[in-house]
Amino acid sequence: MKRFHPNPVNNLYRDAVNGRLSRREVMKRGTALGLSSALMGTMLRAESIGAQATPDASQPLGYTIPSADDLQAELELSTDFAGTEINWMGGADGPGVAYDEAVVARFNEITGMQVNYLMGAESATDRLTFYLQTMAAQSSDIDAAQIDVIWPGIMAPHAVDLSDVLQEGHFQRIVDNNTLNETVVGIPWFTDAGLLYSRTDLLEEYGFEGPPETWDQLEEYAMTIMEGEIADTPEFTGFVWQGAAYEGLTCNALEWQVSHDGGQIIDPDSGEVTVNNENAIAAFERAAGWVGGISPSAVTGYMEEDGRTVWQGGASAFMRNWPYAYALGQEEGSAIADNFTVGQLPSGTEGGESAATLGGWQMFVSTYSENQEAAKEWARYITSQPMQKSRAIERANLPTYGDLYSDPDVLAAQPYYEDLFPVFSEASVPRPSTVSADFYNDVSIAYFTAVSQILGGGDAASLVENLQADLEDIMSEL
């Protein structure tokens, strides 16, 4: 789904995905455009997926977007840029597109500007490559862009300082992650963090009082439940997580390291590499012990969806995943609906620190834009509290304003947000992307490669020692 310029086929695809068209209409328009039956089949399938994912069919999409008057009372958006055209690039995840278009329409209505929504590649890595090429060419084609939590360091040389449009009330850690040399590269838009999913029905059945609070408990609970369940469900496993050699493993391993008092990979203030320590090594060795034990041996090839399918099929007692898996687990037809809970990941010792790797997205304004002030106004609007509230209700995107986690309207739509507040206010840990700037990918590749080798049975002490040397090399290049 690498779409960029609107054209009839893309428009049809989008409308089909959003479930705006009937099957007949898709067929009719598709045939008129001379599309192959295979492509139309995909669209029809996408249409039914889109229809399923719409949370509440009785409500029109975008119904929670505040009215123009309410927004103006709160944000006082400037109308000085009426007639100005700006392009912003965001993601394109099926049903989200229609909502984002409604958000754009409201902004255009208030300000008289013409904001164009460009849909970027679905894969984040592909989108980053696209941004980098656009920025390398100093192109003014993109005025604003949605950037990942690990990109501020990479995008900083091309960023407009957004400190004057950053509003109060965001989680401070996310703001810090977006700030390089006192320049605000991105405004927090919505967030993500690693969570522990636990099966409440099984915890009760096996006599445990609640989700595990330490890794020792998790191992014990998982083993007990697994041994009991395996008689009826031979494929049952204890704990699934993301163990393939990719960015997701960096996120998982950082959580193990920090929660075992292993410090950061790189000290965010001094830039010193701090990964080689006993606690970090012990944390990685513990995780290596799960492979083929409480976790399937295949976990070293798992990404998010591999584990989630096992979990949602009812074949795992615990799962480490991002918040998106919650809504899917509660869907109709899910084997575990109403039988699980989410919360903080375990800590290394009783009463110790829990850690959740920070994910999420920010809004960035390009320094090559010819309409920077207009683009900043757009960034201020889409990241504002009323707009994040609407997004939380309709898209289940986690807000970056702490207040919204106790907002009654938000909690009515997403009751589990209450449990997530401590994760974001206390436990969230950013990856070392700000301190390593445009070398972050190198840092992450070195880190997940070493951890992957440890999970595969390599000697942790020597691998971490090599990792420390590799990371020092990389940081010396900065």
Binding site: L132, I230, T309
Partner: protein
């Protein structure tokens, strides 16, 4: 016998030519002009192709050579510097480079050998006459016709430890149960074998097709003569089929060896950057794009180019020896 016939033909052709020249001695000078004109036309027709090759092949190649001596980064505002042979030293010092070289070498030897053997068996089978040959020949090509990314995703699910059909079949055969289910592509001991299996499944039809084309140009009278002389089927294969198939076989081997050596898409989709199956092309891509090290990544790219160039040179020499 066949060569005698050929020689006879050539003599006749030469004689005809000679006659023709003697008959048209007057117009000899005009013919020279014509030849020159034709040569010029030939050049005019070829130039666009040469320009395209220069743009899409030679320029990038030279640029890669140049970049491999710098520390250029992808989309960076850092000024690139000339670093001499540092990138080559770093590459040759990198254990990951050597492990991916080793993976690539094992992959290449294993897939090319298996594909050649299986392709030969299939080609010989299809070459013989039997009912439904057309359908078999067409259906045989299905794996080759499926886009690589699609077949990789397909195999990814077949290899899956919980939902994969391979574990399921082994369970039906009582060779496995849930506790020993393998994630074929993720498990370090089976990962490389798994990607080899996918490539063999996918590319054997291509090999078979190339060999079949070679088989079809071997004249049948040679076999008839051998039959009359009392040669067994096996003798026929080793003394007639194989020697006459050699040129086609060598061409097929060149294609497959070079293709296998630069394998990227299938492994990348199936296993990403996992070290157990990382090929040299994936290693290079990781350096170039994921790490944004255009300069440092160009060094292994040049090394791949040189290796493939050497392999191609050896193969073409083999063919030349064959022809000579």
């Amino acid at each position: 016998m066949a060569s005698d016939q050929q020689a006879a033909q050539i003599t006749t052709a030469a004689e005809v030519e000679e006659q023709a020249t003697s008959e048209h001695k007057k117009s000899f000078r005009d013919r020279g002009t014509l030849a020159r004109q034709q040569e010029r036309l030939g050049w005019i027709l070829v130039v666009p192709v040469l320009v395209v090759i220069a743009i899409v092949a030679i320029y990038p190649l030279i640029e890669t050579f140049r970049l491999s001596f710098t520390d250029t980064r992808l989309a960076s505002i850092r000024e690139p510097n000339y670093v001499g042979f540092a990138n080559y030293r770093n590459t040759l010092d990198d254990p990951q480079f050597w492990s991916s070289m080793q993976n690539t070498a094992i992959f290449t030897v294993a897939t090319v050998t298996l594909e050649t053997l299986l392709g030969m068996i299939i080609a010989l089978t299809i070459h013989s006459n039997f009912r439904g040959r057309g359908i078999v020949r067409t259906s045989m090509l299905v794996p080759w016709a499926i886009p690589t990314v699609v077949s990789s995703l397909l195999w990814e699910w077949m290899f899956h430890d919980r939902f994969g059909v391979i574990n399921s079949i082994l369970k039906q055969l009582n060779l496995m149960d849930e506790s020993t289910f393998l994630a074929w592509a993720a498990n370090p001991s089976t990962a490389l074998g798994a990607v080899i299996a996918v490539d063999v499944w996918k590319t054997t039809p291509f090999m078979a097709l190339l060999l079949l084309a070679g088989l079809q140009v071997i004249p049948t009278d040679v076999y008839e003569a051998a039959y009359v002389d009392g040669a067994s089927k096996i003798q026929q294969f080793f003394h007639i089929t194989l020697p006459l198939l050699k040129p086609a076989l060598l061409v097929a081997l060149i294609f497959r060896t070079l293709d296998a050596f630069r394998v990227f898409d299938m492994i990348f989709v199936l296993n990403g950057y996992a070290l157990d199956t990382m090929s040299i092309a994936i290693y290079t891509q990781q350096q170039l794009i994921a790490s944004q090290r255009i300069g440092e990544g160009s060094a292994p790219a040049v090394l791949i180019f040189l290796t493939i160039g050497t392999l191609a040179f050896i193969y073409t020499r083999l063919i030349k020896v064959e022809e000579g």
